[in-house]
Symmetry: C2
Subunit: 199 residues, 2 copies
């Protein structure tokens, strides 16, 4: 076979990412492969490489959507005038999002880039904008605090929560503790709020 009329170039590109997202969301990143993806879209494996540089490229596109989705979840978080309360609301938004998109969230951080591969800058920017939202809560919490310190507090809380959730998602939190992940996350929020108030 050769050129097909099934899909336009753009359609096929979108189909590839859509299907990749589906496969990862359903079965996780471990069983995801170029062959399984090409089988799912009904094209030969080689076709993928006419539309994307490599599998890494495809997973990165999927990850972009996952990040964008989390930004939406943050935007939809229950509003509150109390910055501490707001941090808990963001935590809930985060927990809710990864509960639904567990495998996609794992793909974001577990997928191994081949060494030397650089992370796209907009990728970092997307994460940074999430962290900025968290940092703003600390600024409201302690208006006297230098902006840089508030930003760092946001980063630290984000990193702490993300890390613990990663541990949980990969089934390894049980190696360290036997507790509900939501309780742990909210305890971390309380702790970081307390530290900001007394810092």
């Amino acid at each position: 076979m050769a050129r097909r009329a099934d899909h336009s170039r753009e359609e096929l590109g979108r189909l590839i990412i859509d299907t990749a997202e589906d496969l990862i969301a359903t079965d996780g990143i471990d069983t995801f492969s170029a062959r399984s993806l090409s089988r799912a879209i009904g094209y030969a494996p080689g076709t993928l490489y006419h539309h994307f540089a490599d599998l890494d490229d495809i997973v990165t596109q999927v990850n972009t959507r996952t990040l964008a989705g989390l930004a939406l979840a943050f935007a939809d978080a229950a509003p509150s005038d109390d910055p501490a309360r707001m941090l808990h609301n963001y935590a809930d938004a985060f927990l809710g999002y990864i509960a639904v998109k567990r495998h996609l969230w794992n793909a974001l951080f577990e997928f191994r880039r081949k060494p030397g591969q650089v992370v796209p800058t907009w990728y970092i920017a997307a994460i940074a904008s999430l962290i900025r939202i968290v940092g703003e809560c600390f600024m409201r919490l302690r208006p006297d605090m230098p902006e840089a310190a508030a930003r760092e507090a946001g980063q630290l809380l984000f990193a702490s929560i993300h890390s613990v959730v990663s541990l949980e998602n990969s089934g390894r939190l049980g190696l360290v503790m036997n507790r509900d992940i939501a309780a742990v996350v909210h305890q971390l929020v309380d702790m970081h709020v307390l530290a900001a108030r007394h810092g």
Copy 2:
């Protein structure tokens, strides 16, 4: 070829683990494979499977040593009567250990077990004993605190630090913040101490 006189059964078993540890420590877990290991010891790939169930088994043996080494590093940590100070000393011991054994430490948590594989109980026990040491600092910090709460505080600190260090080791802490890992770890210790004091 067939049975060789090069090594006794025990020697060969030890040679396999020794060499595996060497390879992982030097090049990391990503390039580690049954074929690279068998090449390094000068035996055929199949030989590995006469001594260990599978690669997972071999990596688990290496991980055991890594955990035991960390326990030794903890035992060698600078002593202090001040439990908060002591937590910082443990943090330094931890940071020092993983600085030297970065790849081995990564192997501990990044190696993917095939699904359904259970973690050996002594493996969990080794981690638990490390956490107990941390928990004891919290008991000294707040003798009035229920023992369970102190234990949980130890778990939470351990999980937080471990997680952030994992992020750093996999080169992804930079996605979240641009700070020295040691500074972050000590800040986390301070924060958990503060929370324990005010909790």
